[in-house]
């Protein structure tokens, strides 16, 4: 057994204290033959500190495309030659999407907009949309609207938005290679305001943007410092027309190593499968990740791409005897 796994067994599994950056890097650098042991330990950590439940979430794009920012992975930037066009979702369709999500057993419904930050029109849509959902659908509403002002944070709290997603996307040292229209620190400032407001913080990122393994470890350590309630873990799905459109996808074993490492860095967080897992991991890898530290999934489609049918994930969870977290447990 590698020394880092012995250390993690005592420190993370035993005491609930996550690995530091050096420890995370050691896990990311484990040879293939030790990957099963790392995944098993990460699974044990998840079961001990989070329990067997899996949190299920659906997401929908309220405003698609035409974003002024230049996040190099994103097909919704208006600065690239991506074929994604601007489109707005109306309130009745938003409510219907929430109903579809609730039918899967999901307890979370995240409303997402491709913007730098919300303007008055978008905040008005959010107020109307959240109210309509809360009137008709038994589900927790989360939001992801880019960078916020303090007033907007307060407004979202007032609407009843219980969790806010704002991904740091990658580590601080690599961020300028991925985004040039705003800074890592600006994102951090929004996250600080969200945390101080009492809303739950959802913050993760994308692996496979061209970062080194060392930078992947740096990212996990920076997320651990933030201590978000939830970390969505995406794997780059290279989008045509974006600057990262020709990048290779993350190799499956590297993705699994990352899942184990992120879990050992953050033993108590909700670690969610998000975009790209279908391409990076496939069905078998999806199962391995759920048995290697993941305890939440986005079911159904993503914002501009499609996911596995929700039933495929729910059937897998049933097979693995992992109960879907009930809404009553989240309130």
């Amino acid at each position: 057994m590698p020394a880092i796994l012995d250390q993690a067994r005592t420190q993370v599994l035993g005491d609930g204290v996550g690995l530091d950056q050096a420890g995370i890097l050691a896990v990311l650098n484990l040879p293939d033959e030790h990957l099963p042991a790392a995944l098993q330990l990460a699974h044990d950590v998840r079961m001990r500190w989070c329990g067997p439940e899996v949190e299920v979430e659906g997401i929908v794009s309220l405003k698609t495309g035409g974003c002024p920012e230049d996040c190099h992975f994103c097909s919704q930037s208006g600065l690239f030659t991506s074929p994604v066009r601007s489109v707005y979702l109306d309130i009745p369709s938003l409510v219907e999407a929430a109903k579809q999500t609730a039918k899967t057993g999901a307890t979370e419904f995240c409303i997402v907009a491709a913007v730098r930050g919300p303007d008055a029109r978008l905040m008005k849509q959010m107020r109307e949309g959240v109210a309509a959902i809360r009137a008709e659908v038994d589900i927790q509403v989360a939001a992801s609207l880019g960078m916020l002002t303090q007033e907007q944070v307060d407004d979202l709290v007032d609407m009843g938005v219980h969790r806010y997603n704002h991904n740091l996307e990658t580590c601080k040292s690599y961020f300028p290679n991925v985004v040039t229209t705003h800074s890592w620190e600006e994102r951090w400032e929004t996250l600080r305001m969200v945390r101080d407001s009492g809303m739950e913080v959802c913050c993760g990122g994308i692996l496979g943007l061209g970062e080194t393994v060392e930078q992947r470890a740096e990212f996990a350590a920076q997320l651990a410092e933030l201590a978000p309630h939830e970390v969505p873990l995406n794997f780059l799905n290279p989008r045509p027309g974006t600057p990262l459109g020709d990048r290779p996808v993350v190799e499956g074993k590297d993705a699994l190593r990352a899942i184990a490492a992120f879990r050992l860095a953050m033993p108590r967080t909700i670690l969610r499968y998000a975009g790209g897992r279908e391409i990076t991991l496939g069905d078998l890898g999806t199962r391995d990740g759920l048995l290697g530290g993941i305890n939440a999934v986005i079911v159904g489609n993503y914002l501009t791409t499609l996911g596995r049918p929700a039933t495929a994930d729910l059937d897998l969870l049933a097979e693995l005897k992992m109960p879907v977290k009930a809404l009553s447990d989240t309130l």
Binding site: V60, P83, R85, T101, G300, T305, L306, A310
Partner: protein, 66 residues
């Protein structure tokens, strides 16, 4: 639902000619993507992805859903 049948002249993923060459990579990718170009006129469509399904609207040829 408005479904307009058009002759598929253009690849609905990359927007290039669907008659000149085959598009196996696009066909494979389309398993996890909605269409982006109208197969009848090559216009970029307005596409809304929902948790279950998607809709794509061409201003000339109407809406398709999946």
């Amino acid at each position: 639902m408005t479904t307009v049948t058009t002759t598929e002249l253009w690849c609905d993923r990359c927007g290039e000619s669907a008659t000149a060459t085959a598009h196996p990579a696009c066909a494979s990718a389309r398993e996890l993507e909605p269409p982006r170009f109208c197969p009848g006129c090559r216009r970029r469509m307005k596409v809304q992805v929902l948790p279950v399904g998607w809709s794509a609207v061409c201003v000339e040829h109407g809406e398709i859903r999946g």
